[in-house]
Structure formats: C-alpha cells, structure tokens
C-alpha cells in the first residue's frame, strides 16, 4: 500500500511546476486572477516596511506574526504537555 | 555542479533514513536520525534557505538529538526491529 502511495505521490509531483523555475506560480508577482502573490511582495517591500534586511525575519515577525505567535504557543503547549505527562509532585508545596 | 552536491546529499538522506529505521540499537538509530537532520540542514543551506538550515541544525541536530538520548536513557536501548 505504501508503494502504491509512493507511486501516486510521484505521479502527482510530475504535474507540479518544475523545481527552481522562477516562472512557477508561487514566484510570480501576480497570480492567475491578478492578485498579488505574497512571495514577490515580500522580496520587494520587506525592507521598506520594516527597515530590516532579513526578509525571513520580517515575514516571520511582522507579515505573518500570528503564525509565529502560534508557533510560540505550540512550544508552550509542548511544555505544558510534558509537564502534565511527566512531572510528579515536585510542585506540590503543601 | 550545485546539483551534484545536492544529489549526494539526497542519497545521504535516504541512507541515513533507512539506517535509522533499520538498526537494532536505538542509540545508533538516534544517532542516524541526528545525522539525517544534520544532512537535511546542509541541504537546506545548499538550497539557499539559510535561516531554515540554521534552525534545523540547532534544533534537529542539537535539541532533538539531546531529547533522543535522554529518552533512550530513560527507557530501553535494544529493540527487535
């Protein structure tokens, strides 16, 4: 079954845009219906918007800051989860 | 030239992945998994994703590796499969 799955996946990838092609939809400035595409916008405007050269940082902490907030909360959740699962009595101060 | 390096890295990835899953010593498996993530980090960097590569190196090879060892330390090391 896994082999079949692999075959199907590889078949599906054949219809993806070629790797590294700058003409791929996600690298365009406008998409098929004429709306701006995020990646190009970030490259062009990141420094202007936040005075920070590292585009990844800007995207991370400004454009998509809620993703990052979610990420921090995921980490926090993991901490709470491990606490719940593993820790014993140590915090028992009664 | 660049993509030759990449192919080597891909092959390394496949090797380490299979190795990590097939060895019977879990500690060796964990080491292989760490190698896998580290190769992954190299591959990221070779593709120009320096941030991702850096993170993968710190986290995958560092923190996750430590967690692996700690978990194995807390449980058992041998396995039948």
């Amino acid at each position: 079954m896994l082999v079949v799955f692999a075959g199907l996946m590889i078949y599906a990838t054949l219809h993806l845009p070629e790797r590294g092609n700058p003409e791929a939809p996600m690298h365009q400035e406008l998409n098929l219906v004429g709306k701006p595409v995020a990646g190009a916008y970030f490259i062009q405007n990141a420094y202007r918007d936040a005075a920070t050269p590292n585009m990844v940082t800007v995207v991370l902490a400004d454009y998509r800051s809620v993703d990052t907030l979610g990420e921090v909360i995921v980490v926090f959740t993991a901490g709470v989860a491990c606490f719940l699962i593993l820790r014993r009595r140590e915090t028992d101060d009664s | 030239m660049n993509w030759l390096v990449e192919i080597v890295l891909y092959l390394l990835l496949l090797t380490t992945a299979l190795l990590a899953l097939s060895v019977r010593d879990l500690l060796a498996g964990a080491a292989a998994a760490t190698a896998f993530t580290f190769t992954m980090a190299l591959l990221f960097i070779s593709m120009g994703a320096i941030d991702v590569g850096f993170t993968e190196a710190v986290v995958g090879a560092g923190i996750v590796g430590v967690y692996f060892f700690a978990a194995i330390y807390q449980t058992s090391r041998g396995t039948r499969d």
Partner: protein, 124 residues
C-alpha cells in the same frame, strides 16, 4: 528525460523519504522507531517546501545591494522559508511530547515494543 530528471529528481527523493517515514510510523513495532519515522516524515515535508522555494540563480532572502529587489527572480522566495521555520518548531514540539509519552509508557509498562505492550495492557 534528463530534463525531467533534472527538474523533478528532488521531488522524487522527497516522496521516497516521505514513504520511508510513513513506513517507520506505521509498520515499525518499536515506539522509538515510530518517533524516528515521524522525524523523517516531517522533515521530508519541510524539505518539499524548501525545494519549492528554490529558484535557479537566485540569492538568499537577505537584502543585498548587489541585487535589486525589483527583479523578484533575484531572491529566493522567503515565504516557504518562514513557514518551514514554524514547521520545524512544531515538529520539535511534537517530538518532545512524543518522548514524554514514551517515558510515561515505559514507566507504566516497562516496554516500548508494541506487541508486548498490547499484551500487558490487556492484563489490566
């Protein structure tokens, strides 16, 4: 054919990795092996995103005066990179919780082998 190989070999390798990871998660009987499979599985998806962000002849997404930003093809797409930063962190969090569960299981049942575990659970 070479063209096809050149354009798509990365994806194929990624799909192979994916299936290897899936195999580890579903077929392997040792729970630690399942976690290793999970790491492989997640990383292969991350790799797919990063491979998708790749453009030939482009530079890293850090502003560089030598490359004007007007030409988008000069820089790699920073969006997937950002997403994958998050995905890596999420992956670590999951692995951490998985280890916590493994330790808890081992404390309770003294084994991480699935068949034995099932046997001992049935005894409850």
């Amino acid at each position: 054919m070479i063209e096809l190989l050149h354009d798509y070999y990365a994806y194929w390798a990624i799909m192979l990795l994916l299936v290897i990871g899936l195999y580890g998660m579903l077929i392997k009987k040792n729970l630690m092996k399942k976690v290793i499979g999970m790491v492989i599985f997640q990383n292969s998806i991350i790799l797919l995103f990063v491979a998708a962000a790749f453009k030939w002849d482009a530079t890293v997404p850090v502003l560089d005066a030598a490359h004007p930003t007007e030409n988008v093809a000069n820089y790699l797409n920073p969006l997937p990179h950002t997403l994958m930063l998050t995905a890596i962190v999420v992956g670590v969090a999951i692995v951490g919780v998985a280890f916590a569960l493994l330790i808890a299981i081992y404390r309770n049942f003294g084994t991480l082998e699935e068949p034995e575990l099932m046997e001992r659970m049935r005894g409850e």
